[in-house]
């Protein structure tokens, strides 16, 4: 009897994130009100996603892991701000994720605490936020992240090197087809100049079938059945199939009516029945060898068709807002005021800049759908007003300090 070659191992990583959306912070509030978030809206949004996605999906994965005899696993990447919101708004969601992690079938990944673009602007700030996130994950889940996953998969050779210096063994990246041959996406890669850190490249085709196209009736693959998807996976070249997406894709972006829960249940069971095994990123970097160099000199991401930074810094408003928020880092840090530093850090959340995107077509849909503001102009105006107020607070504290010193 012939021994079948092992099936490729899917490595499924979910991003779990909700931003702190800002209020319509108009000019008249500057200097009057030092709080910029819309608590009511954030709570409502969080609860909506909790009911549609977090609770049922966490329960589903817990069951799948427990029934898999240790062969089904996933990785979760929580931002610091989503963990804060869980604790504040819905402790039941936090409990549910803790139970999921406690199954032992979940790896928790490293992140920036604030889901920020710090990796593009400031190595010290990037490091600070990774440190904060590490501490938060330790506190909440009692585990130590070993593999890093940057905001929206922002990645470059330089970022890989920085991540390596912080002790991570692996880093997630977008397998950008025009940078890396598709044939090599399904195996580990390595950034030039790094020694030990391994790069896991997202297979955008397999991932986006589930994350974006799943309920698209105009897609030629619609409807996607668990059987077809299993077939596709089983037939792939390579050992490692990196399927990375937003956790919210299940139940939220792809609503319950689309059959996404049933799909996941069937797909996982079917793949296991065929003898497949799922791996986590840490297992992957231990088990598999680096097959190629992945030379990515400019930052890439998983966002938009360009797969780079233009979702956050594509237009003049975004460029100014990102430069200004990062430009005051030193002054903010000098205040030594933890509340103020936290306020500033939350304003770094990449979602704020995404809402300012003026892209049209399919890439313009996501920011408009998810933004609390009607237009990118409103998103810019209210952000800049909030930043002006923050700057006033910073100046006030630093001025007072200069008299004391």
């Amino acid at each position: 009897m012939m021994v079948a070659s092992p099936l490729p191992a899917p490595c499924i990583c979910f991003q779990v994130h909700q931003p702190y959306r800002l209020t319509s912070y108009d000019f008249f509030q500057i200097g009057q009100r030092s709080y910029y978030e819309d608590d009511e809206l954030n709570q409502r949004m969080f609860s909506k996603v909790a009911e549609k996605c977090y609770l049922p999906a966490a329960q589903l994965f817990r069951r799948l892991i427990e029934n898999s005899e240790g062969r089904f696993r996933i990785a979760l990447s929580f931002t610091g701000v989503v963990l804060e919101q869980m604790a504040d708004y819905r402790p039941d969601v936090l409990d549910s994720f803790c139970d999921l992690v406690a199954t032992g079938g979940v790896e928790v990944l490293g992140e920036t605490y604030y889901h920020s673009l710090a990796s593009l602007y400031s190595p010290p700030e990037f490091q600070r936020q990774i440190g904060l996130h590490r501490a938060k994950v330790r506190e909440v889940f009692g585990v130590e992240p070993k593999v890093f996953r940057n905001t929206e998969l922002i990645y470059s050779n330089r970022i890989a090197t920085e991540v390596e210096s912080l002790g991570f063994r692996g880093v997630l990246a977008e397998g950008v087809p025009w940078i890396h041959p598709l044939s090599q996406v399904n195996s580990l890669a390595k950034a030039p100049g790094t020694k030990s850190v391994k790069t896991l490249l997202r297979n955008s085709f397999l991932s986006d079938d589930l994350a974006f196209r799943f309920s698209d009736k105009t897609w030629k693959g619609y409807p996607l059945t668990a059987r077809d998807y299993c077939e596709r996976l089983a037939g792939m070249h390579g050992q490692l199939l990196n399927i990375f997406m937003d956790f919210e894709a299940i139940g939220e972006h792809q609503g319950r009516d689309s059959g996404s829960f049933r799909f996941w249940e069937e797909f996982v069971s079917m793949y296991l029945e065929r003898g497949g095994e799922f791996v986590t990123p840490s297992m992957a970097v231990t088990r598999f060898e680096v097959k190629s160099d992945y030379d990515c000199s400019h930052p890439t991401s998983w966002i938009d068709s360009e797969r780079e930074r233009s979702a956050w810094v594509g237009n003049a408003m975004q460029k100014e807002a990102t430069l200004k928020i990062h430009g005051i880092e030193q002054a903010v840090m000098e205040t030594g005021d933890p509340r103020l530093i936290h306020s500033w850090s939350k304003l770094q959340c990449s979602d704020h800049f995404h809402y300012m995107s003026s892209k049209v077509g399919s890439d313009g849909l996501v920011p408009r759908y998810s933004s609390p503001f009607e237009t990118s102009y409103d998103a810019y105006i209210y952000f800049m007003n909030a930043l002006a107020d923050l700057q006033i607070r910073v100046d006030r504290i630093n001025l007072a300090r200069s008299f004391v010193v």
Binding site: F27, F28, M384
Partner: protein
């Protein structure tokens, strides 16, 4: 002495106000009411509006019965043969009109003279402008003429081009003298190349009028040079301002505030304000610029501001209510009006009432009233910036400008304007 009886034709009237026109008509009407028997006809009014010493009638309230007595005695043939009215006429748009010049009609009589309930219905929907503005202007003129034939008065006083066709029609059927009052012209809105239906109507109105009252000498020069109206007919009269008690509120941040207030259209020169802001902030970083208002240039201005890196110091408020405008004025340190062409500029007087020194475009009427205000050509952003910096840093100069402005606004009342208008009436009636 018998009181003069005046038929006034207005377009915007409180509470239906889009710009300064409604405010000015209302202010003048109230002040004139004590000296003349005044009946005001506007396209639409609110039934519950309080009466203020003059008779106020809305075309929306007119019935076909009201017009029946004179319906057969009136023929509309004055201005032009119009078969269809081009769409999108808007007095506030800054884009140049692409309409063909309309030629004077040749047909003798058309059934066009008849007023139907549909025509009256044009004035009931709350929108004074819109796509059917041309039709509104014509129907308003027919209704005005038919009502005028049933009424007794000594002269006609019509505000801006929307009512001038009506003024010309009423003059034609009654033979009474016509005074046209110019608050804003197509030259201001669309620049020196503006031609088209509105321009033609403005020119016709001023040609047919016995006197033209521009709201400033600046606008008088436009009327003379751009519309070719003879100087002898012009009687520039400045607007007044309702007294407001403007206070100051506690500073909310250390930076001083420079304010632009107005529609964000080419006429108001908002892009010059952005440029000025950049130049001031270079020299005096502790300043915030506020652009209050909205308009077709808003998005472009936001992007330009971001491109120049002014965000965080340059704030857009969007449209503001009167209360919010007052709150803003009470925290403003310098008022800046860089209008490309501003017939008057009432908002600068309102700012002066809050004790705010102003930097004004020389191409504005209000610059003639606020004699102490610092002035520059609208395009001279260096000088504008220089003026602002001086007002922010030189306390003595600032005090002088504010003091002079206080004296100027004391004299700038609607009663003073009404006295001058009375003189014009007397010229025509004596």
């Amino acid at each position: 002495m018998k009181r003069t009886r005046v038929l006034m034709l207005g377009w915007e009237f409180p509470p239906a106000i889009n710009g300064g026109l409604g405010v000015a008509c209302h202010g003048l009407a109230k002040a004139l009411a004590s000296q003349v028997d005044l009946q005001v006809l506007v396209p639409q009014i609110d039934r519950d509006l309080p009466r203020e010493g003059f008779e106020l009638r809305g075309a929306n309230e007119v019935t076909l019965q009201d017009l029946a007595a004179t319906e057969k005695h009136y023929r509309y043939e004055s201005f032009a043969e119009v078969e269809s009215i081009p769409v999108s006429l808007d007095p506030y748009t800054s884009e140049e009109s692409l309409l063909e010049k309309v030629v004077r009609g040749t047909k003798e009589w058309v059934e066009f003279s008849q007023t139907t309930s549909e025509h009256i219905g044009l004035f009931g929907n709350g929108d004074l402008y819109g796509d059917d503005l041309g039709m509104k202007v014509i129907q308003f003129s027919k209704i005005a003429a038919k009502l005028a034939l049933q009424s007794d008065f000594d002269l006609i006083h019509a505000h801006d081009w929307m009512t001038w066709l009506a003024g010309v029609e009423v003059k034609r059927v009654t033979g009474k003298p016509l005074v046209v009052h110019l608050h804003a012209s197509q030259y201001d809105r669309a620049g020196p190349d503006a031609r088209g239906w509105i321009y033609d109507l403005e020119k016709l109105g001023m040609q047919e009028a016995d006197r033209v009252i521009p709201v400033s000498h600046y606008t008088g020069r436009v009327v003379e040079s751009h519309y070719g109206i003879e100087r002898a007919k012009l009687r520039p009269i400045h607007n007044g301002a309702e007294p407001v008690s403007g206070g100051r509120i506690r500073r909310r941040f250390p930076e001083k505030v420079v304010l632009f207030l107005g529609r964000l259209t080419a006429q108001k020169g908002p892009e010059f304000f952005l440029e000025i802001a950049g130049k001031v902030i270079e020299r005096e970083p502790a300043v915030r610029f506020v652009m209050a208002g909205t308009g077709d240039k808003l998005r472009q201005l936001i992007e330009t501001g971001a491109f120049k890196g002014l965000g965080g110091r340059f704030h857009f408020t969007g449209f503001l209510t009167k209360e919010k405008v007052n709150e803003l004025l009470s925290m403003t340190d310098v008022y800046c009006m860089p209008s490309v062409s501003e017939p008057f500029g009432l908002s600068a007087l309102e700012a002066a009432q809050f004790g705010i020194p102003a930097v004004l475009s020389r191409q504005s009427g209000v610059a003639e009233v606020l004699q102490g205000a610092l002035k520059a050509d609208y395009w001279d952003t260096n000088l504008m910036a220089e003026h602002i910096v001086r007002l922010l840093t030189d306390r003595e100069l600032r005090a002088k400008v504010v003091e002079q402005a206080a004296a100027d606004i004391e004299a700038a009342t609607w009663d003073a304007a009404a006295r001058k208008v009375m003189k014009v009436y007397h010229e025509l009636l004596s």
